[in-house]
Symmetry: C2
Subunit: 430 residues, 2 copies
Amino acid sequence: MSVLIKDAVIVSQDEKRRIFKGSIYIEDGIIKEISEKGLAIEADFKISGNGKVVLPGLINTHTHIPMTLFRGYGDDMALEDWLKKRIWPAEARLDRNAVKAGTDLGLLEMILSGTTCYADMYFFEDTIAERTKKAGLRGFLGFSFLDFGTPEYKREELFSRCEDFIKRWINEKLITPVIAPHSSYTCSPETLMKCSELSKKYNLIIHTHCSETQQEIYDVKNRYGVRPLEQFERTGILSNRTLLAHCGWITKGEVKKIAKVGASVSHCPVSNMKLATGGYMPLPELIDEGANVSIGTDGAASNNTLDMFESMKFTALLHKHHRWDPCVAKAQQVLDMATIGGAKALGIDGKIGSIEEGKVADIIVVDFKKAHLTPIHDVVSHLVYAVRSSDVVATIVNGKVLMIDRNVLTLKEDEVLEFAQKEALRITSD
Amino acid sequence: MSVLIKDAVIVSQDEKRRIFKGSIYIEDGIIKEISEKGLAIEADFKISGNGKVVLPGLINTHTHIPMTLFRGYGDDMALEDWLKKRIWPAEARLDRNAVKAGTDLGLLEMILSGTTCYADMYFFEDTIAERTKKAGLRGFLGFSFLDFGTPEYKREELFSRCEDFIKRWINEKLITPVIAPHSSYTCSPETLMKCSELSKKYNLIIHTHCSETQQEIYDVKNRYGVRPLEQFERTGILSNRTLLAHCGWITKGEVKKIAKVGASVSHCPVSNMKLATGGYMPLPELIDEGANVSIGTDGAASNNTLDMFESMKFTALLHKHHRWDPCVAKAQQVLDMATIGGAKALGIDGKIGSIEEGKVADIIVVDFKKAHLTPIHDVVSHLVYAVRSSDVVATIVNGKVLMIDRNVLTLKEDEVLEFAQKEALRITSD
């Protein structure tokens, strides 16, 4: 399949962060040619770039996709109440059907909102992988470890099941298996060490929660005498293949450690604010130390969307507000976090995250002919502060058009919505 | 003109906050009948409510509408730099044409995003009133006072010009004149006192900035020996007709004073966070004391949109985050601020702000058949945490349909966008 995007404004996110008018030719999944002069090539799929901005697809580095079924199911509640009365009872009823429904719903939402790649961690990850492959999104899918077992597997079978999962998906183009020990308070040191070995054996990303809440710090310290990051360090989890979600309660010393080892952070401002987990992810310090920071929405249960454009605006504004300084978290930095920063977090910044010849074509097109995007003084400012995800008019992954003019080509929208509503009510009703 | 909305979910925002399935019949601007059983009436305009949610139109209680021309013109800059290098030089070039362009752009954006009524304060307010009337929105339009004069009028002519403005618009249905002394640091005590007299004479709302920045507190205290709110009190500005924008730096004593006198606050979380004005508007304390709090976007120069749905989400999340408590700023409270709270701030809660028989029909319709609004566990949760303003499919003001299926009927979208782009470049280029 070949795709031609003609005469658009290209926000390349390349090394020089060049922005220019040009055309892009895509063939067999690869960006073959970018020209500022126009391209006289035929293609299977043509997209007019008139009034439009093209950028790398957004990369959501922390979510739990089937939890879209819990969107709006218990807001404004204390964290423990919410988990005990709503989320855990519903998760106990999870099965393959519910996961399929929630995954398709999340995929639909992501495709429609300009996300081309996501890092997940949940249960029934095989089902999530099958659905993701079918919908055509790029997924870094985390097989979850919890010491009390998961809704899918008993504790004692987790490692062998995980290895099966890895072998099943490791050679897929769109799917990459990920090792996902849930956290340092739900996984024993032995579990963490075995996860670390598995990650080394197959050279896979480890995706885990780190210092999301103050309680977690207390618990891990009480139990093991160290803070979560140190626990990850001494169990071999912490490396340049590690993706740490949240980091709302890390110290300045831990910032240096993360930067030094080359681990990545997934910042989830909307979820952190909504759950009121307190603390504050020290973005300026992480950037100053050279750490790689990306953005995640977290699950829709605590967001309540998977909207990366919204998460970009929250990222920028939260840090300005926290520091009483409008100059921190600049628009370009935040866009970097959501594109090339996400690619780096997943170890594939040589492949996606920017628009350059030879890279894989994970690309989105945004219509700028809108009242809320007029006038245009600064394209990057608009992408972070004014674009709504509904302005995305094309989503391309691996050179394949998944959505054009708000129509998703790989999922049947009506069926997905109906099935999700049905399954959501089934697993949440008494 | 008559309008019938058939079989929708109605979020009434009435005294009991009832939510029910029903139909609404509107005639001559008034909500004539609401029925849970369906209505067998013919109407000039029929809207199917299938899969849709109907709620009172959102009320934006603080903006500077022509500043949409400065959207994205200087972000991520220190406040003083931004004002001196960007905003003030551009404002010095303001004229009627630019204000017309910016106002039409803002009106278009508001109609498309479900805002039916707004409180403005800027210059060339006559032009703003003419355009607002033409577009069909409800405007509480503030004639601005600044001791160094405005881009429109010299200092010495402000009061007579304001009185002309009042007389010209006071009997209009959609337009209500408002007295807008800019602030306690840009208006002398004499100016404030004269504004207070004018407000009493015509029984008009006073709209002003109050305690937005820490610098403002210092300045007013140094110059007059009191804090801004006390300055308003002793110059007669503070009453139950006063709308105080921001209040990010008010004390607990000032919270009590605002509640006691019956003044209203316009909370602008997005602008406050983006400009990093610091401080924190004490929402839980204001609510506990019984003060009326509404929501404003502020101008698009510091937001960068006029999107009230987005501002609702920011309101809820900012306060949860600040208090480390997910139970503050509940969805229902935030929706109240954006609807009935806004109406109360403008002294017209007997007329708009809820959907009840006999009230004026300022109503919006939101399409809930969307991936990011599926499943539906809780309609109010979705309105605050998940709806995007692009989900609004009908905007009705005073019983007149201004927008249906994303088509604005009272403004020519293409012309508005083109004119705004042209005027924006004209007044910002060197």
